[in-house]
């Protein structure tokens, strides 16, 4: 099943104002840079973005925030983005903060046809407000519902023409679950290869979850916290 589209324009066709997008990555690691850059060009407005983080001021989803294209952000940690904090505190931006593990599991659930599940995470906190509580194994749990999106945009290291994806190291993070949960899932990859070149035993995201795939033109792969040690 050939899923290849010729470029980012074609890959993002159909994204409209007020849609919900899932965007893969953790911090600036494993984010779909080419698609984000193109979303800025598309000037789509009123987006709800589901992503663990909101980028930094001048990279990642921060670029969409600067252009005020995001109406609502669903994330777990947004500490590195001054413009985000400003828009949130001023009320311009709706924000739903979700514990990281619940965010990951809710995306997986959305892709896996599990509409809701119980988790101990967040019990007794703001996160639990309005949610059903039930005791299992002597411990209170809250009911969390699945998340899905009109489009899920993920970034992989290698992909084949069938949409099978392999991620590199910790750039995997949220990408596999979001790939499962998109009505249309778009994958941008560093290297696009013919079907049969990836070992079927070591594929992270089976192509069945991916509707469109393209090779990104350029990956900056910015490092957020460059930490090193001196050679002895």
């Amino acid at each position: 099943m050939n899923k290849v589209v010729k470029n980012v324009e074609e890959a993002l066709k159909g994204i409209e104002d007020n849609m919900t997008l899932m965007v893969g990555g953790f911090g600036l690691c494993g984010i779909p840079e080419n698609s984000i850059a193109h979303l800025v060009k598309m000037e789509t407005k009123g987006l709800t973005c589901i992503s663990n983080n909101a980028g930094v001021d001048d990279f990642g989803l921060g670029l969409l925030l600067q252009k005020k294209q995001i109406k609502k952000m669903i994330a777990s940690y947004v500490g590195e983005n001054a413009e985000f904090e400003r828009q949130m505190l001023s009320g311009e931006l709706e924000v739903d903060l979700i514990p990281q593990g619940s965010l990951a599991e809710r995306c997986r659930a959305g892709g896996a046809g599990i509409p809701a599940f119980y988790t101990p995470t967040g019990y007794g906190t703001e996160v639990a407000e309005g949610k059903e509580v039930r005791v299992y194994n002597g411990k209170p749990h809250i009911l969390e519902e699945a998340l899905t999106a009109d489009f899920a945009i993920v970034k992989a290291w290698k992909g084949d023409t069938e949409g099978n994806l392999i991620y590199k190291e910790t750039a995997r993070n949220f990408n596999p679950m979001m790939a499962m949960a998109g009505k249309i899932t778009v994958a941008e990859v560093e290297e696009l290869v013919p079907a049969g070149e990836l070992d079927p035993n070591y594929i992270h995201t089976p192509g069945i979850f991916v509707q469109r795939i393209f090779q990104g033109e350029k990956f900056e792969k910015r490092i957020e916290q460059r930490t090193t040690r001196k050679r002895d």
């Binding site: 953790f26 911090g27 600036l28 690691c29 494993g30 663990n52 994330a75 777990s76 940690y77 947004v78 500490g79 590195e80 904090e85 949130m88 505190l89 924000v95 903060l97 514990p99 990281q100 593990g101 619940s102 965010l103 990951a104 599991e105 995306c107 997986r108 988790t119 101990p120 995470t121 967040g122 019990y123 007794g124 906190t125 703001e126 996160v127 290291w157 991620y167 590199k168 190291e169 910790t170 750039a171 995997r172 993070n173 949220f174 990408n175 596999p176 679950m177 992270h204 792969k221 910015r222 490092i223 957020e224 916290q225 460059r226 930490t227 090193t228 040690r229 001196k230 050679r231």
Partner: protein, 219 residues
């Protein structure tokens, strides 16, 4: 003399046990990895998707695809493994990680912890902290005993939005090592040169002080 950040990390490192998988939060907890006691083996999990973290890379060998939960560039040890965020929190929620060390803005004497939000002021988000504190069997909080204004962060009740309820077991501050016992802080050890009186004075919550409070042994 009150402990510095490295001193707090050193004391916490003494609580590590052979064979444990450990998750270290951002800040002081990250430093714990530098002080693993001799003769024991522990493995560090980072919730963005790695087990078997090694030291920071040498200058020029940073890999943008290889970071820890603090977004710092890292390296891997032999036997490391990468996985996705759902699997990572399956490890955490499923109690496969034996110890969590994390920072806090406030802790209460019933083990509540607040660490992610100052209403109207600072909203960074909870990241993985809520999952970690809701599930970990052992939680050690690494923090300063007081804030910059000198007010105690060791409280009867937290004033800030909670990260978790009744979950903290041990607290190591610049002044003391305390445990939560029967809804009170129990003073286990004092920092080198720090008096019991100073700890009492700077602790807002109920503090149980035994007859003899040993001094921490920090190299």
């Amino acid at each position: 003399m009150a402990l510095d950040k490295n001193g707090i990390a050193k004391r916490i490192a003494q609580e590590l046990r052979d064979g444990w998988y450990v998750n270290l939060g951002i800040g002081i907890p990250t430093l714990v990895a530098n002080y693993i006691p001799e003769g024991i083996e522990v493995e560090f999990q980072s919730e963005n998707g790695i087990l078997g973290m090694g030291p920071f890379p040498y200058d020029g060998e940073e890999d943008a695809d290889l970071i820890n939960a603090g977004k710092q560039t890292i390296t891997v040890k032999k036997g490391a493994v990468f996985f996705d965020s759902a699997t990572s929190f399956a490890m955490i929620r499923g109690q496969h990680v034996q110890l969590t060390v994390l920072g806090a803005m406030e802790v209460s004497q019933t083990g509540d912890i607040a660490s992610w939000k100052i209403p109207g002021k600072m909203v960074k988000g909870m990241g993985g902290a809520m999952d970690l504190v809701a599930s970990a069997e052992n939680i050690i909080v690494a923090m300063m005993h007081t804030n910059k204004a000198g007010e105690s962060k060791i409280l009867k009740e937290c004033t800030l939005p909670l990260t978790g309820v009744g979950c903290v077991k041990k607290i190591v501050t610049d002044l003391a090592f305390m445990e939560i016992r029967d809804g009170k802080f129990f003073l286990v050890e004092r920092a080198p040169g720090v008096s019991v009186e100073e700890i009492i004075a700077k602790t807002d919550g109920d503090l149980v002080v035994p007859d003899f409070v040993p001094e921490m042994k920090i190299d």
